[in-house]
Symmetry: C2
Subunit: 201 residues, 2 copies
């Protein structure tokens, strides 16, 4: 009794995402997506209530792509993979990264840090000497260690994204991350539960 839609939901999302990739979020409009799709604006509005809703869907899709970057096995270290994936995404998908975190940011979900913490301990298991030392750190010290790594990773990603740092080679990025991580780690061991615990005042 009806007619099959010729433009699918995913076609629309993909077209819009491609627009962000190529020209950034500011290039996304109902008409621009339609043009990319070779249609009028109507198919878009039949799959999505508004442009605002389209934006939400695009954010979900983009976050999925980021997740892919972060879940690849660049190294043996889970935490390092997460951090490197984040920076590589900022470098290789400049407009998507800008869309997610710079131009149209929403509140950073609290998971971001807790996930990093988990994988951090998954990495430094009970085998390594580092793992043992880490376990002896206070809870607050552990959290702080992950926080510091996260802050540094975020900073590096922004600067690489903006072009302030031109890190074409993956090795260079990895070295930055490893060096910083090592610095924080060693510092944390020495200061374990010392300066770290009195966090707010």
């Amino acid at each position: 009794m009806n007619q099959p839609s010729v433009y699918s939901y995913s076609q629309i999302i993909d077209a819009a995402l491609e627009l962000i990739r190529e020209q950034g979020w500011s290039a996304v409009s109902a008409r621009a997506v339609a043009k990319k799709l070779g249609s009028s604006t109507m198919p878009i509005y039949s799959h999505v209530r508004s442009i605002e809703e389209l934006e939400k869907e695009l954010r979900i899709k983009a976050q999925g792509l980021l997740k892919e970057f972060q879940q690849r096995q660049y190294t043996e270290h889970t935490l390092l993979n997460l951090a490197f994936g984040y920076v590589a995404f900022a470098r290789d998908e400049k407009n998507l990264f800008r869309f997610l975190y710079l131009e149209r940011p929403e509140k950073l979900n609290p998971e971001d840090t807790s996930v990093m913490k988990e994988s951090f301990f998954a990495e430094f298991g009970e085998n390594s000497a580092e793992g043992k030392a880490l376990k002896e750190m206070q809870e607050s010290g552990q959290e702080a260690l992950v926080q510091y790594t996260w802050i540094f990773t975020h900073g590096l990603a922004m600067l690489v994204n903006s072009g302030a740092f031109d890190l074409n080679s993956d090795k260079a990025i990895l070295r930055f991350l490893m060096n910083a991580g090592e610095a924080f780690y060693l510092w944390g061991i020495n200061k374990a539960g010392d300066d770290l615990e009195n966090k707010d005042d």
Copy 2:
């Protein structure tokens, strides 16, 4: 032979800047500035060729405000003052910071790092033991040290700006910065001119 203008250049800039402060760059338009000024759009165009030029002027003005933040003497340490001022600006002038570095970024001027490096050495003068140790580091090691500090500062500023970290107290910000700086510094001393020098491959 002419009439004194009732709306001055600085009045216009200030009105526009206030708009950014309150509602972000996206709220700035010829008509919006005029409304804030209680005038028509004409006085704006008599002082400024276009909105694009207005944006340039606003960026200069905003950068001046950032500089003020960075030049205050929060502590004894010049580098720490620079870093803290940057983060405090990101926290206290959210929309101005977003205007400068997030929404409408331009290429980061290379000075940013070189300035930090200079003040870094001005701080750790020849008096302190740290200063001496620092001098013994290779040139590349010194640069890296400043880079790492800069990256961390940038990351912290972004996260504080976005609300991911809610650091109301100056002390908390200072502790983050000092801890990270100390970690990098100690790490740099140990590794002096070791891993640090082979920077790109």
